[in-house]
Amino acid sequence: MIKSFVVVLLVFLLEGSAVASIQKRDSVSIRNFRELYLTFSLLTGVSPNHPETSDYFSRAKSRLSLDGDVRKINAPMTLATTSLASVFCHAFIESEARSMADQRRIHEEVNFSQGMSAISRATRAQVIQRYAQAFWGRSASSVEEGVVLNLMEQIEANDQGEGELVPRVFEASCTSMLSSLDSLKI
């Protein structure tokens, strides 16, 4: 974990701080609670009426950004945002896994009933690129793609056999990308 943090921090420093650049541009802000909820719904295709997402939203909305002010971003807000993204991703992946492969939005090449070892690195990378297009409206950079691939491997390595691994791996990847600043900024 520490090793990954150092790597991530280095990349973060090399890439430059987006937060700092945003604070310089006062016209940039993040989505507030209502904007965020409907944006996640739009990006994942999960209905805003979905019982799990609406239940979580009703409990957590006061912890999400109320006014979109980037200066007020704090740890509880970040956690609530990430958690909301994870609830949407759970519903999204569940729906994708239930659908026939050719009717899926993103995971056409993923066999949810097999183990992660059956999913090649190329397929994983393809899914990451599709998440990027769907959530960010752009391709993921090679650095971004590498980090999400690394996250997948970490989850796979730490698997303790709790439930199905494949959906969990993709839920985590989906969550990390959906809750990133590219989806949040307005």
Binding site: S29, R34, D69, E144
Partner: protein, 388 residues
């Protein structure tokens, strides 16, 4: 979930960092996406044909038409206008509070391009569908509870599509003044107290002025009611040097709300020449003070710093509707709507360098019959808001 939250946080940092490498250059496409994001609170997918259409208008130099595409999206009403109206509808100014008749009426007014002055004078309300809708049961709107709007909210009913105008506003209140006679406003400002809060919040919400900004020590105490001590702490000077600045103006206008109270979940209206009992309570504090016998009012906040609120038309009258007319006719109301929409769309308060733009947009807003939808478009495309 066995994967660690810490991984999320570090990854989030990375992705934040990664995102910065795609910092913007000012292209028409980015302007289109920015306009759409700002006006709807949601992104416009690259594959959405509206993006190309917006880009085309931007390339032709017609930003207004590009903005109009964004304001045609349902989320402009469900998100942006909801965000604009929600904090105005309750005492705590809480953006997360639930949908109510006040908010629904603002959304409907914007959608149907009704003159914004009607928000303070109109005899109408916007409500959603009721009964069995798509297998869900929605209660009928009621003047004694908010259940109808609570269910619309919980079911994420598409307000942009489903709201309908109903008139008259109420079956029990003979005098309607737009938002000032909605149940939500009544619950927020007519509950208990003395109804002075209704005056305070009218200025706060619709004129963007706090009592500190309004207070004027030069006004007369002629209308200050009997429940206000003229020598607080034993000092008459305190009243003359502090209290009268607010009470002189506030009590002068308070008569406008004198027929209103909020009890048992509903607005209570006092007809037949009666006024709410709270207006004449604690009469022994200063027995020579003003006795409220009807709903007449007078505006003393018209001089000094309050002159620039640009009052137009009668400065005294009878009843809440006439009061709403005076407020909505003022330049202060138009400017406040512009400032509020600027804050909502541009995600910041106007700077001093934006004042010229605010002035021009206010002029335009009044010329275009106080059309709030057009106002949001104008604000979004203004160089002050759009940036470089």
């Amino acid at each position: 979930m066995t994967w660690k939250l810490g991984s999320f946080m570090t990854l989030l940092m990375l992705v934040i960092g990664g995102g910065s490498s795609h910092a913007s250059t000012s292209s028409s496409r980015e302007v289109a996406q920015k306009l759409f994001n700002r006006l709807t609170g949601t992104p416009l997918r690259p594959s959405d044909p509206r993006l190309a259409e917006m880009v085309r208008w931007i390339d032709q130099g017609d930003l207004q038409k590009a903005a109009a595409i964004a304001t045609d999206d349902d989320q402009f009403y469900n998100v942006r206008i909801r965000n604009f109206a929600q904090p105005l509808s309750d005492r705590e100014e809480n953006p997360t509070s639930g949908l109510n008749d006040f908010v629904a009426t603002v959304i409907g007014t914007v959608r149907d391009e009704i003159d914004a002055r009607q928000l303070l004078t109109g005899d109408y309300l916007y409500v959603g569908p009721s009964g069995a809708v798509d297998g869900r049961r929605i209660p009928v709107p009621s003047e004694v509870n908010n259940n109808h709007f609570d269910v619309l909210d919980a079911q994420f009913i598409n307000l942009a599509k489903e709201l309908k105008k109903v008139t008259p506003q109420s079956s029990t209140i003979p005098e309607s003044a737009g938002l000032l006679t909605t149940r939500a406003w009544g619950e927020a400002h007519y509950t208990a107290g003395t109804n002075r809060r209704a005056v305070e919040f009218t200025f706060k919400v619709f004129m963007c002025r706090t009592m500190d900004q309004m207070q004027d020590l030069s006004v007369t105490d002629e209308w200050v009611r009997r429940d206000v001590d003229r020598a607080p702490g034993g000092s008459a000077l305190t009243f003359q040097s502090k209290c009268v600045g607010c009470h002189g103006g506030m009590d002068g206008l308070g008569g406008a709300f004198s027929r209103f109270d909020f009890k048992q979940g509903a607005i209570q209206y006092y007809s037949g020449g009666r006024v709410a009992q709270k207006y004449n309570q604690n009469a022994d504090v200063y027995p020579f003070g003003h006795i409220t016998i009807d709903d007449s009012w007078v505006n003393y906040w018209t001089k000094n710093q309050n002159e620039k609120l640009g009052w137009r038309g009668p400065l005294s009258g009878k009843g809440i509707k006439a009061f709403g007319e005076m407020i909505s006719r003022s330049r202060g109301f138009s400017q406040c709507m512009v400032r509020r929409s600027f804050r909502e769309v541009c995600k910041r308060d106007p700077h001093s360098s934006d004042e010229e733009a605010i002035h021009e947009i206010t002029e335009q807003f009044e010329k275009e019959n106080y059309n709030l939808k057009r106002l949001f478009q104008e604000v979004a495309i203004s160089p002050s808001c759009l940036g470089e």
